[in-house]
Amino acid sequence: MGAVFEGKDKEMTQALQNLFWILIFPGFVFTVCLGLVASWIVRKVSSLVQWRVGPPFFQPFYDVVKLMGKEVLIPEEAQQTVFKAAPVVGLAGVLLLSTMLWRITIDPTRLFVGDIIVAIYLMVLPSLALILGSSASASPHAAVGTSREMKLVMGYELSLVLAFIVVIIKSGGQLSLAAIAQQTPVFSISGLLAFLAALLCVQAKLGFVPFDMAEAETELASGALIEYSGALLAVWKVMQAMMLVALPLFLVMVFLGGFTGALWAGIAKYVLVLVLLILIKNTNPRVRIDQAMKFFWFYCGVVLVAAVILAIIGNSYGINWL
């Protein structure tokens, strides 16, 4: 009798613990807070580059709280269900991704917490959700934004996967993120090339200049998100903030050896990636979508194929620096 209760109890505790993992720490609440801080850093550094004072520390938090309190307007012609569900789907994707990444960081010994392929799939979800949501909103501006987002996804996704293939080769065919995070492939020619390409892909995934054409304010009046308001817009903003944590963190784990060393070293790596992203954002004008496609498919593609070849050669002859 006792054993059964104990078993159930254990199940309950396990479930509760999992829930805690996903919802509070290091999942939703923690990542959101961190993401809002990260988006403050982005805005603050951008303003400093532009000789401005910039927003106060709690500004992203105020913005989200305010949006939650606003009225939600839904366009008459919109596909209601999809319009409302899309931001939630995107949020769920990022939530899973970030929980997964954090768990590997904190407790890498646990058996299955996902491999790099799952992570790649989860990373596509927010973009897909954005495409779904904006095409459901039946606005011509959103339609152009959607088509740009679709082209952009098709552009960078190939490069991103190629970059990860380099890492997988370097780590000797390992797919588990925990194992990959033990290595620092960036200290090799192919790894460095892959890291730089992946950094630009992440720039595009985050919708930062020069790859912000889907949300280009001046061309499309806030593009894909034009029809969203109130709480639904807040969900998008939260999602973007979380991406700001998850994507650089993912790069840190895959290329820079994750949080394996001291905690401060891990944080420093994350901040480094974030600052790189911000600097690229502030020193470039927006490119056109055809220029972006060309960039990812042609230039990035060629470089990455070279990197893959280098990595294979390096691996088979045991030359680690290649």
Binding site: W51, R52, K66, L73, E227
Partner: protein, 143 residues
């Protein structure tokens, strides 16, 4: 004070509506974003869609062609929202009062569709950027 109003004051996103202004007030509004005045430090942000806005900065004395569009933008703005009439024209049509194509001013047009609208006035031709900031902050503090 409800948390909705509290957060609205902390993060007023504004949408700029020109209803037939001479461009001066509009330039001064854009000027607010730039290094000398930088209103982002007060949480104020210029947004590209009325659906994202908490306040409308309306300039111009409302021409006949612009009036229906102003009403449409006001309808598309989620409530609660504040309407700011920026400049002499927006407040009372200014020098263009006798014009045959003017149907404003702004408060008349907005009150026709929403008698309870919150409208704040910043006079001047054009109001100095400092005056606009002061007007926005004063209006928000009495909410």
């Amino acid at each position: 004070m409800s948390w909705k109003i509290w957060s609205l004051k902390k993060s007023p996103w504004v949408f700029h509506v020109n209803t037939g202004a001479c461009n001066n007030c509009d330039i001064e509004i854009v000027d607010l974003l730039t290094p000398k005045f930088d209103v982002e430090r007060l949480g104020i942000k210029l947004v590209g869609s009325p659906r994202h806005a908490d306040a409308l900065l309306v300039t111009g004395g409302v021409t006949r062609q612009a009036a229906p569009r102003l009403r449409e933008v006001y309808r598309q703005t989620p409530k609660p929202c504040v309407v700011f009439a920026i400049g002499a024209c927006a407040c009372d049509k200014g020098i263009f009062t006798t014009g045959y194509h003017m149907v404003g001013p702004v408060d008349k047009i907005i009150k026709e569709i929403d008698p309870n609208a919150i409208i704040a006035y910043v006079p001047g031709c054009p109001p100095k950027p400092e005056a606009i900031i002061s007007g926005v902050v004063t209006a928000l503090s009495v909410l």
